[in-house]
Symmetry: C2
Subunit: 245 residues, 2 copies
């Protein structure tokens, strides 16, 4: 059974998320349906990150097995054909050894969170950014973010439906950088808890507004209590950018 | 009668264009309706560029007169409120002297055309870029583009419904620059003919594919004949970025 690794991009807006669910269209179901149309097989796909409803991907990684040995480029082209008109695209396809697993082989995941920080609402970036109309101090956000780096119990930033056994994660990078009207928050870790990036960004917003100091953010982390964290940032601004193996 | 100048941004996808028409929703009609809801007046608005259906604006400039003297910030905030949920936003508003005219006072217009140059179709940038799946040589496009600079009869790149009296225009800048999978073409001139940027980009694509040389592009310009130009690039990738006064 040849195994394939795909790098895929999608607009998360119309989907209930990566994972197949009963309450609406998922990226996984769309991809598995396209695979079925391509080769007639009923295939199970596995993704590196189970993105939530409305969360986008620029570099999600997926693996699956096929019975027949297709050229990787044929798989890519056929899937892009059968995925139309859904906003999911296969950027790259390659054959990989059977020990490769999109989720468990991943060494790091990189997310970007885009905040549009201006008075006027978004137009061309609607559903692609979080619109925050009060002025944010990106420098203060970046400085405070450094207090979250390293290995910690991230219960304060953990979603209530998180299925991970442990709330301990190692955060390698959390940068906030302004570029004109936009603030981009980049987060990198081996893995994240459910809603961890969105919950960290929601707390960083409080720092950006001047409501929280770096010490307040550090205290929230130390409390290991979700009720001590800031609100959850909406999914619109979140992108799974890259998975490293 | 106080005169106001607005800088506005919009997603052109759902509109028939800037100008009010009978065949669908226009940016102009939406803005004039929002003005009516705000102050009860029936106001005529004038824009710097009559963008076509599907063309976006990041910095369109509009002027109009009101009977009452409102603070400029009130006008901006009220319009952003009444424009919802349409993808039009007022970025800035200011009171200007009555001699200011958004179209005729403009000294230069700057457009950007975005080409997504990769195999896979767009997802998060759907309706925001022109998808060209064959590899393009941006360096060759940029070099050839320089042959169009200066004052010329641009009939080769003129739309058939163009209402301008003269086909002569002075092109100040036409740059093609690649950034990853995207090629951005930046064009600046005092004014452009109808479809001029899209028609120039359609011809530059032929250069990028290696079908045309710089000499072919120069010969097309010299022919002053639309049938000698390349095809018209779609509206999706075009943005009116800035109007200079």
């Amino acid at each position: 059974m040849p195994r394939y690794k795909l790098t895929i991009e999608y607009d998360g807006t119309p989907f209930v998320g990566w994972q197949r669910q009963n309450n609406g269209p998922s990226v996984q179901a769309a991809l598995e349906q396209a695979l079925h149309r391509f080769c007639g097989e009923t295939v199970m796909t596995y993704a590196a990150g189970r993105t939530d409803s409305g969360v986008h991907a620029l570099g999600q990684v997926v693996h699956f097995d096929l019975t027949k040995d297709w050229p990787a480029e044929t798989v890519r082209n056929a899937l892009n054909y059968h995925l139309r008109p859904q906003p999911i695209a296969v950027l790259a396809s390659e054959a990989v050894p059977a020990i490769f697993h999109a989720r468990s082989s991943a060494k790091a995941r990189r997310y970007v969170y885009r905040i549009l920080n201006r008075h006027a609402p978004p137009t061309v970036t609607r559903n692609r950014v979080w619109h925050v109309h009060v002025p944010l101090d990106a420098g203060a956000m970046h400085e405070a973010a450094q207090a979250l780096l390293g290995m910690h119990d991230f219960s304060t930033f953990r979603g209530s439906y998180c299925q991970a056994k442990s709330p301990v994660r190692t955060l390698d990078r959390l940068d906030a950088v302004r570029s004109g009207e936009e603030i981009r928050v980049e987060a990198q870790a081996r893995s994240f808890l459910q809603h961890q990036v969105r919950n960290m960004v929601g707390s960083l917003r409080l720092v950006g507004e001047g409501k929280w100091t770096t010490a307040d953010l550090a205290a929230a982390l130390a409390a290991r209590d979700r009720t001590k964290g800031g609100p959850t940032a909406p999914p619109d601004g979140l992108y799974l950018v890259e998975v490293l193996y």
